[in-house]
Symmetry: C2
Subunit: 134 residues, 2 copies
């Protein structure tokens, strides 16, 4: 456990939520200016391999890292306004069971991102359509 590794995990914890390697790098650098971005990647990958960290792509092909929490959770990402809502894992439980029963497949859905349109944007869109019929 080097001081860089500690600082990287601490930064991930301090920032909270889903963070890119770059964001973590920026914070670590305030304390250890010599730390390199590749070290950040190496330690995040290690965290993922050890099961301490999960990674998700919330869109745009950029990985985001987060500490594993007590309660597994997922995300609903609005493709219109960009809002990211949290989703309890239990909603995925029936799907997980169905995949196992019907396909013998053990799904690793630890940190899912589901894309779509959020409730707010739905009603906003409906209101707009009422204004401009046709």
């Amino acid at each position: 456990m080097t001081r860089q590794r500690l600082a990287i995990f601490a930064a991930l914890a301090q920032l909270g939520g889903h963070r890119t390697a770059e964001e973590i790098y920026e914070l670590v650098r305030t304390q250890y200016p010599e730390v390199n971005l590749s070290t950040v990647y190496r330690n995040l990958d290690l965290g993922v391999a050890l099961g301490l960290v999960t990674q998700t792509d919330l869109g745009g092909g950029i990985r985001r890292f987060e500490f594993v929490r007590a309660a597994r959770h997922h995300h609903l990402v609005c493709q219109q306004c960009g809002a990211v809502a949290e989703l309890e894992d239990e909603v995925l439980e029936p799907l997980r069971a169905a995949l196992h029963q019907r396909h013998g497949f053990v799904a690793h859905m630890d940190h899912f991102a589901i894309f779509g349109i959020c409730a707010e944007c739905q009603s906003r869109r409906q209101a707009a359509e009422a204004q401009l019929p046709g």
Copy 2:
């Protein structure tokens, strides 16, 4: 409709399944050596925008493109052996309904990739564990 565009869509059709821009590029080049990779990307993006083509990341951060089929489908990707199995859309229907009911969220799950361990690798693993107890 230029001859490049036609060739790109034809290549996607001919190859079938999920293809990377690079794969399509290679095939198109056998017929039109002067075609550029950026043209492939531009036309695939156009196809996606028109709803003729779907894109999925089957792992590794590389986009894969596929013609839209009559029946919407998804994929089960085995993280151990790399097998990609097909998943009927109806399995996702309850989840879609739950997200709408509980969160007012309209999920755009048109071409999902779910990662995990396939049935074969499950039994292979169990067999190995029986061999090496402990």
